[in-house]
Symmetry: C2
Subunit: 211 residues, 2 copies
């Protein structure tokens, strides 16, 4: 957690510092990220960073937390329909992520790196907590589908979850990679391509998991 001094800063300055930090970590990774550069990009002196955080590691961990909280706020806004099925969850989740990607490419890219384990043990705690939450939710969706009879019942939930996660993660990575090429406003055509790929993936998921 940051020091008291940081919390007393006005929101604008806090945000400048966090975005500078996230940008630097995202671009160069934890080790190569320079506090001096973060300070410059935030428009503060290097010494100030150490008035806000104990050390580089704390700044990094708070960067992860900050990005996460940002998403929490955004995602909370669109209440997920209860009793959605896994496929709609995948579709709406992907569309949301895509919209966010356009608005906040840096935060999305950073979060993806965190989730993908690029920062190794540094983000472990936040990371496994996130996975736990996601898994719990997805398992619930699977259980629902099973009850409703839309999901095959010859396979256990853990296996279905793994399958579902594998497909969705690969799809997300693919979209992210394509998005790098968009820089940063995707054309209508690119948007359609994404939609199309998404539907095809759902078809594969449905046929694979369904009965």
């Amino acid at each position: 957690m940051p020091k008291r001094t940081f919390n007393r800063l006005d929101d604008d300055k806090k945000e400048r510092v966090m975005r500078a930090a996230i940008g630097e970590f995202q671009a160069h990774g934890f080790e190569k990220a320079k506090i001096e550069v973060i300070a410059q990009n935030a428009g503060v002196a290097k010494g100030s960073i150490y008035q806000y955080f104990d050390d580089k590691k704390e700044l990094f961990i708070y960067s992860v937390t900050w990005a996460l909280e940002y998403f929490m706020k955004v995602i909370d806004r669109q209440t997920p329909l209860k009793d959605m099925d896994v496929y709609d969850y995948f579709l709406s989740g992907s569309r949301e992520r895509f919209k966010l990607l356009k608005r906040e490419p840096l935060l999305v890219a950073f979060s993806m790196d965190v989730v993908s384990g690029k920062y190794g043990s540094l983000a472990k705690e936040v990371n496994s907590e996130l996975n736990r939450i996601g898994e719990e939710y997805e398992l619930k969706l699977i259980a629902n589908g099973r009850k409703r009879g839309t999901i095959r019942d010859d396979l256990d939930d853990k296996t279905l979850l793994l399958f579902f996660q594998g497909v969705t993660e690969k799809f997300t990575t693919e979209i992210m990679e394509k998005a790098e090429g968009f820089k940063y406003e995707p054309t209508e055509e690119q948007y359609c391509e994404m939609e199309s790929l998404m539907r095809k993936m759902v078809s594969l998921l449905k046929q694979g998991m369904g009965r």
Copy 2:
């Protein structure tokens, strides 16, 4: 590429150096890996490392190449049956990887990290080359299945490939994570669990991709 001096070393010493390097990079990542530690573990002086390689980066890149070539040798030994289908490819590939994991946990772990992009841009070239080769082969398998009529023909190859890769990669990661717990000799039970999960994944793949 290493310097002439390194190539003239006897095979044993070469291997000691490479394994020490791979162990250190695997354990701590590129930045935190210490040349001094690599030298110690290889049983040579730090200065010697610089008689063999220009710098740390070159040592790293050669470590990747070395691990890769090791696998090439092993994999070449079991000639892949021509005209295999994607499912058999997945099954035999997974079993091979599992056997290797027991014999060479370090090399497998290191290679997985390389492939998963943990070293970022450092291993980019080798990495994308590897992906290209894998993709090419898998696309061929998919095309075969399509001809043979075992694969649905309402979806394009690229989509099927993405689906296949997503599932197989997730499965591989899962097995690797479990294997960490094996340390290092899996019990018969654990082996069966892996076999079972593998078959279930194939079932999902088949039902998803089949017609």
